[in-house]
């Protein structure tokens, strides 16, 4: 598999398209510098892309990947440095300008109009016309041709809102092809795809390579890159670090380049010791049609993992315990006391917190400052009985957590929107620490976060557990579950199929229970 993808010079080209041979330089960026008020985002960065190659751009959050990507796609103009595209020095005044020149970008959050059909989306604002009217037949035919080129089975008439994320991505790619794009930039294309969908995407990427398209590929999932990436360029803190042939390097080396140090362990040494002391005892939780008879114990000082496939009900159970979604039946006990949770306010009052997997839409008030986000769940601690806020106390609290969690922000008054993903995640964590929560549900806390920041968050989870906080870690990444948790509750279709001791289990055993098969021959299972 890997061999095939490293073969950068394909023998044949489909006629009529991108006739130039692969391996020829398509795009070169020299000495690009970009400043924002207060931040030097890129400092003399170079990058080049050849025809028919996939060139990955790696770096931690805030390393400058997005800025570089936006410069290539014309959204930003560099302050210094030049862009050479197909042998000509170019300056793209806008993304439209770049698009016309054949550079398409597929954003992480896809830009499709949900109520229009696939065909209408592909040719949005460029509809084939007959007189004053849209030529529907031509529209459908041309869309069909684009989709066929990708070899995907999507109906041109299907409304986009009925498609899966992966299919939407295919539509975006089809749209890029319809623009005769010679460069396609993909930002975190696999972050919300399942494994089989990812495989399909990679198949499409290989097709594009064969057709001589150059692809700039940005992803945090380094493991996957081996399947498609030819070269990789690493950025760190806005500076160029190195470019390597993927064949001559390995994931660990790339990570080391990204963080500027070698990462011996991906996971920190666990320091907390689980006790037998039960913090939370959940029994018979049911929400009809979503999850059934879910029960588990959370003990003081432990990290309990929730493993399972997407849609197995892990997030839903956590949200219901937190009061964000309704619950049909079931009991929740904290220590000896049974509690009723109807709204998040009830749960918060009992010291339960839930950190959503979707930070931007559920976790942060992005227009508000770091400080304001930090204190939002615990305004009582920084205000008097009349509700007047003590700004000094608030600022001190913010400052304390900024230092404690090493949140990188120019000031506590910075608007949350302007921080990187890892730092936004830390703000959300800080919010709940400031609320003195005793039970924390972390839902995919490291999704979309780079390696270095991940490690910091792992350390934090361990520290929280060591301080006696009950931590539940919901994660789709099994290494994360195995590397961090003490016990794992495995979900399958809304039920817990097993609770396993992490030390005695394996990736295979967890997958076995997660996919709904009965107990395997392996030992170590502990029944609920």
């Amino acid at each position: 598999m890997q061999q095939a993808s490293l073969d950068t010079v394909p023998e044949r080209f489909p006629p009529g398209l991108n006739q130039a041979p692969a391996g020829i330089e398509l795009l070169r960026l020299d000495n690009i510098t970009k400043r924002f008020p207060g931040v030097l985002a890129l400092d003399g960065v170079g990058f080049d892309l050849r025809r028919g190659e996939v060139h990955a751009l790696c770096g931690e959050n805030g390393a400058g990947k997005s800025t570089l990507m936006k410069i290539i796609s014309g959204q930003y103009q560099p302050d210094e440095g030049g862009i050479t595209y197909k042998g000509e020095v170019r300056r793209f005044a806008s993304s439209l300008d770049a698009e016309r020149a054949g550079i398409a970008i597929i954003h992480q959050e896809l830009n499709l109009v949900p109520h229009l059909s696939v065909a209408e989306n592909i040719f949005l604002a460029r509809e084939p016309k007959r007189g004053w009217f849209v030529d529907r037949t031509a529209l459908r035919r041309q869309a069909r041709a684009c989709l066929d080129r990708l070899g995907v089975d999507i109906r041109p008439d299907a409304p986009v809102k009925s498609l899966s994320v992966a299919q939407c991505q295919m539509v975006e790619i089809a749209k890029a092809l319809s623009l005769n794009a010679e460069i396609v930039i993909m930002d975190e294309p696999t972050s919300s795809l399942t494994e089989s969908e990812t495989a399909l995407l990679f198949q499409v990427i290989r097709e594009l390579k064969e057709q001589g398209v150059g692809i700039v590929y940005i992803s945090h999932r380094l493991d996957e890159m081996a399947l498609i990436v030819d070269r990789v360029t690493v950025l760190r803190d806005g500076r160029y670090v190195d470019t390597r042939n993927f064949a001559d390097t390995c994931v660990d080396e790339i990570v080391a380049l990204m963080v500027g140090r070698s990462l011996d362990d991906k996971f920190p040494e666990r320091t907390s010791i689980p006790t037998a002391d039960v913090l939370m005892d959940v029994r018979g939780l049911t929400r009809r049609g979503v999850f059934h008879d879910v029960g588990f114990e959370l003990r003081r000082g432990e990290i309990l993992g929730f493993a399972g496939l997407m849609g197995a009900g892990r997030t839903e159970v956590a949200r219901a315990i937190f009061g964000a979604d309704p619950l049909d039946t079931g009991t929740i006990r904290l220590g000896e006391r049974e509690i009723t949770v109807k709204t998040p306010r009830d749960a918060i009052a009992h010291g339960i917190a839930y950190l959503s997997e979707d930070r931007k839409s559920h976790g942060l008030a992005v227009k508000m400052s770091v400080t304001q986000n930090l204190t939002l769940a615990n305004m009582g601690a920084v205000s008097n009985t009349l509700g007047f806020i003590d700004r000094k106390a608030e600022e001190q609290a913010a400052w304390r957590y900024i230092q404690m969690l090493s949140i990188r922000t120019p000031s506590p008054h910075q608007v949350a929107r302007l921080l990187s993903g890892g730092n936004q995640q830390k703000i959300v964590i800080a919010k709940w620490l400031f609320r003195q929560s005793r039970i924390l549900f972390f839902d995919e806390p490291t999704r979309g976060i780079d390696v270095g920041a991940k490690f910091a968050i792992y350390q934090l989870l361990d520290r929280l557990a060591a301080e006696g906080i009950g931590v539940v870690l919901i994660s789709s990444e099994l290494p994360e579950i195995l590397g961090l948790t003490d016990r794992v509750a495995v979900f399958h279709e809304g039920r817990i199929t097993a609770v396993l001791n992490t030390r005695e289990t394996s990736q295979e055993e967890i997958m076995h229970f997660a996919s709904g098969h009965g107990r395997p021959a392996a030992p170590g299972a502990e029944t609920t």
């Binding site: 924002f36 008020p37 207060g38 931040v39 030097l40 400092d43 931690e60 803190d237 806005g238 500076r239 963080v259 500027g260 140090r261 937190f322 964000a324 709204t343 998040p344 306010r345 918060i348 009052a349 839930y354 959503s356 839409s361 559920h362 976790g363 942060l364 008030a365 992005v366 227009k367 508000m368 304001q372 204190t375 939002l376 769940a377 305004m379 009582g380 205000s383 009349l386 509700g387 007047f388 806020i389 700004r391 400052w399 900024i402 230092q403 090493s406 949140i407 990188r408 922000t409 120019p410 000031s411 506590p412 008054h413 890892g422 919010k431 270095g452 920041a453 490690f455 910091a456 350390q459």
Partner: protein
């Protein structure tokens, strides 16, 4: 300008930060940047204020009567109703909502107050009743939005028609007059009014005084500004507008906060109605048509974002005065009412456009 920029670079970029290493700068550096933020904020405010000053200067030059204590008070008095409603509109808009019903609600409240007084109720009680009716309309708006989950635009559009209809119905579409002098006290009285009996025996006004509506406007503006910027309730209002789901998951009572802003809007509309009718000493069921749009315009000119999460009372106050001074000054220069509308419309477009540019990155 170069100095603060370089300073900020030190903190955020390269050397300062391998991810595990704590940020190295302390509270001092933070203070420096805060000042910078504040200064920027001040400059933004100043830009709007400067526009206001330009208006005052231009009108002072084109009309002799414009720049005087008397006219100043007139303008302040004229601005009051836009300001009350604008302040309320600001709170509603910050949560991401809108209240189109205030013009009708103020008419209903004023009419109810007048009818009560006509029926023999003491003036303060009658006006109290009027304000309560306003608050009740606001409550209904809020419940439609939070309980029935109607879009605020629709909920308050409905109320706009209902309240106007009720006001016309209970008065038979006729003005309520003959309310007695005491009904006019709130709208026409003034604090610190100095009147001397001249030598000819006629009263001679030394200082016209500060009209009660102006005093009320200042008090309400300060109270709501403090509420928004210094209290948890205010913080929650911004949080709801910035991201309602995040606010809910942080334990904010989103429905309660939203409801509060509509009740506040209704209450202030009720007060506006009482003040307006008191000024005329007559209650007109047709009063206040299109006032909601003036209110929204003043908030928007003052930098409130219709998407929610952004806005200040000081900005809205400036916005209200921009509209008030434009009307007054153009009147004094003999510009027709139609031309005035055109100019005010253009000013709204211009200020919001400038605001967009300023916020663009």
């Amino acid at each position: 300008m170069s100095n603060p920029t370089t300073k900020a670079i030190d903190a955020t970029s390269p050397t300062a930060a391998s991810p595990r290493q704590p940020t190295s700068d302390g509270p001092q550096a933070m203070n420096g940047r805060m000042m910078n933020d504040r200064r920027k904020d001040l400059i933004q405010k100043f830009a709007a204020l400067a526009g206001l000053l330009v208006l005052v200067t231009v009108f002072s030059m084109t009309s002799d009567a414009f720049f005087s204590v008397g006219n100043g008070m007139t303008i302040a008095l004229q601005v009051t109703s836009i300001a009350y409603l604008g302040i309320a509109a600001t709170c509603v808009i910050i949560t991401g909502g809108i209240d189109l019903s205030v013009g009708s609600v103020l008419a209903l409240a004023g009419v109810v107050a007048a009818l009560a007084v006509k029926a023999g109720a003491p003036v303060p009680l009658g006006m109290g009743l009027g304000i309560l009716v306003g608050a009740f309309c606001g409550l209904l708006n809020g419940l439609c939005v939070t309980r029935l989950k109607l879009p605020p635009f629709i909920a308050t559009l409905g109320m706009m028609m209902v309240a106007r209809g009720v006001a016309l119905q209970i008065t038979g579409a006729r003005a309520v007059s003959g309310l007695g002098e005491s009904f006019g006290e709130l709208g026409n009285g003034a604090m610190f009014r100095i009147v001397r009996i001249g030598e000819d025996g006629f009263p001679d006004v030394v200082f016209p005084g500060i009209p009660y509506p102006v005093v009320l406007m200042v008090v309400i503006a300060i109270a709501v500004a403090i509420m928004l910027s210094r209290t948890t309730l205010g913080r929650h209002i911004y949080a709801v507008g910035s991201n309602a789901e995040a606010a809910r998951l942080s334990g904010v009572n989103v429905a309660g906060v939203t409801l509060f802003t509509y009740v506040l809007s209704g209450t202030l509309a009720g007060l506006t109605g009482c003040v307006l009718m008191s000024r005329l000493v007559t209650a007109q069921p047709n009063e206040g048509v299109m006032y909601e749009l003036d209110a929204i315009a003043s908030a928007v000119i003052g930098g409130t974002s219709l998407i929610g999460g952004v806005g200040t009372i000081s900005g809205t106050a400036i916005g209200a005065f921009v509209i008030g001074i434009l009307r007054n000054g153009l009147n004094m220069n003999g510009v027709s009412a139609f031309t005035q509308q055109i100019i005010i419309g253009l000013v709204i477009l211009l200020t919001v456009w400038i605001d967009q540019i300023r916020n663009r990155r």
